[in-house]
């Protein structure tokens, strides 16, 4: 099985009646994801694309017992939506919504730990096991099943890399977006640990960027990781002190620089691609 999800994973969509929720539910259904129910308070009893909608997560769980939920609700309500899922006992919570207040994420991450649940995101494109299941907003056609694990902070950049891997005949075992925020649930290190244990994954591509210390922490793990890692990092030309689109992509007080991250990763033997299109070639070298 791929990481977290597979053909049989039953998925709940919180915020299913919104524009984004409905559009991506349709895309997920088209991909073959088992979307079993949706939740929008006040909209219980309706259907979206044949998927039944409930007022609360609890009501949805009683009928459908989902394994995972994807949260598409606006940022101001995402905290409570995630709490609702956590309290209801859902073990995989994918928070697509962006612009969650930082303090909300801090609390969610701590609570998830207590509840034994995994939060992917916020501000993530989600997770996909090619040809089996996707929970998220990534484009359907670019992925192929195969031996390469891919974990990224950024959505479109990971699509670029995934598409180039697929084109080069290098399919993916699981692709995970950890999210572009300063604080996220699932970390690079946790994703790398899972890829290490995953029999389907033979090599891992890490797509990082400036800001924070996630890549440095990943490097500390890669040091003892038995599987090869190829990395591409964005932001080599970004000036310090400016937030480059993602809340987490900022060089602050001398920390989070491209150079420090590349150095940390190179020192532990990860191959660094200077350009996104170099990734497939480097993966070939290490496979």
């Amino acid at each position: 099985m791929s990481l977290f999800i597979d053909r049989d994973t039953k998925v709940l969509i919180q915020g299913i009646t919104g524009n984004q929720g409905a559009f991506h539910t349709q895309q997920m259904l088209a991909y073959g994801t088992k979307v079993v129910a949706g939740v929008t308070p006040g909209r219980g009893g309706r259907e979206v694309l044949g998927v039944p909608v409930y007022d609360t997560v609890k009501l949805a769980i009683e009928k459908h017992d989902p394994d995972a939920t994807a949260i598409f609700v606006p940022a101001a309500f995402a905290y409570e939506a995630a709490l609702e899922a956590l309290e209801a006992g859902i073990k995989l919570i994918v928070i697509i919504s962006e612009h969650l207040p930082l303090h909300d994420t801090l609390k969610l991450v701590a609570l998830a730990k207590v509840k034994g649940a995994t939060i992917i995101g916020p501000n993530t494109f989600g997770i996909i096991a090619p040809s089996r299941c996707k929970i998220g907003i990534m484009p359907n056609p670019i992925y192929r099943p195969g031996p390469v694990g891919l974990v990224a902070r950024s959505g479109t950049l990971s699509y670029e890399v995934a598409a180039s891997l697929s084109e080069a005949g290098l399919g993916q075992s699981t692709v995970i977006g950890i999210g572009g925020d300063r604080v996220v649930g699932l970390t690079f290190v946790e994703a790398l640990e899972l890829f290490t244990r995953d029999p389907e994954t033979e090599a891992v591509v890490l797509v990082g960027e400036i800001g924070g210390t996630a890549e440095e922490e990943a490097a500390a793990y890669i040091k003892t990781m038995p599987k090869p890692v190829v990395a591409y990092l964005a932001g080599s030309s970004a000036p310090p002190g400016k937030r480059m689109g993602h809340a987490g992509a900022i060089i602050e007080r001398g920390r989070g620089t491209y150079e420090a991250k590349v150095k940390a990763l190179e020192e532990v033997g990860a191959k660094i691609a200077a350009f996104p299109w170099e990734v497939p070639g480097l993966v070939r070298e290490v496979l």
């Binding site: 701590a110 609570l111 056609p141 670019i142 996220v184 400016k242 007080r253």
Partner: protein
Amino acid sequence: MKLYEHLAKEIFSRNDIPTPKGRLCRNPEEAALAAQEIGPVAIKAQVLAGGRGKAGGIAFASTPKEAEAAAAKLLGSNIRGYPVTKVLVEEKLNIQDELYLGITVDSGARRAIVLASRQGGINIEEVPEEAIVSHLIDPLIGLKRYAALDLGLKLGLKEGLLKEFIDLTLKLYQIFYAYDAELAEINPLAVVDGHLMAADARLNIDDDALFRHPDIEIVDEGSELEKAIKALGLSYVQLEGNIAVMANGAGITMATMDTLQKFGGRAANFLDVGGGAGNEPMAKALELLLDTNPKAVLINIFGGITRCDEVARALIQVKEKRGLKIPLILRLVGTNEEEAYNALKAHGISAFRNMQEAVTAAVTAAQNA
């Protein structure tokens, strides 16, 4: 969002953290009046630039006349590129000792963290690690008295100062939490007449939580262009090069800038039109970019949720409206690619499928312009 020192101090003071007596002044006459009331004063430029003291943003005066002159000199001047429109006239402190106290978020630990040191008055990054004591805050527990006590003892504080330090630390956390702060910092935390006082104050609020704080005045230091593009709901950063950049997604936008630089070009900006921007905001953003008169425009779209035909429509719309005198280099792949290429061709716009070729073309176009 960073708050000005005077606003941060106002909030600190309202929450019972001792701050120096001070007045916010907009002209030299007000500064003179403030000095008359307060006595010897420090006059501090209210700008968000770091290293304000070193850049000449702080002056001292012992008489109202001196205060007036110092304020006149500061007001209207520039501190690290920031114009000074307001000064804080504050009682001059007789500082015996300088400590550091700050609360921020440790993104690796995924916790808020209290940092404290006996070496205050300099940037905390310059303080050796062994001189800093810290405590990670469990958000489900908060910061408790015992944790603040532990920090105070580790700093070697005793008696009255220890008690004041504990109270201040707890109050600072209350502010940090209540105001959705990314950073709440007192540096230096001064010892004045045997008591602790916030000689400086920093409070940075999480932009994503501003909706919960309608009472906080928005400090937007961006240029008019930055404000205009942000109003479209897009993410924009002004840079110093001459090739305007537009892409979809923060990561790919950065990667486009990086690639430009590695090929000898320089991005004029970072513009992320996001995952699912429709053609309207994209067309408006492109027009705003063209108005800046760059040497070339490079658009890099990997169409996932963003549909290539929408991008094509935005471009065609702009071309029909105002023509394209500035070289526009487009890289376009993904969803509805064929449709997009057909539409572009009909309007005499060419595009690349390969990112490397597009970047090379943009650099060449900028060099020849």
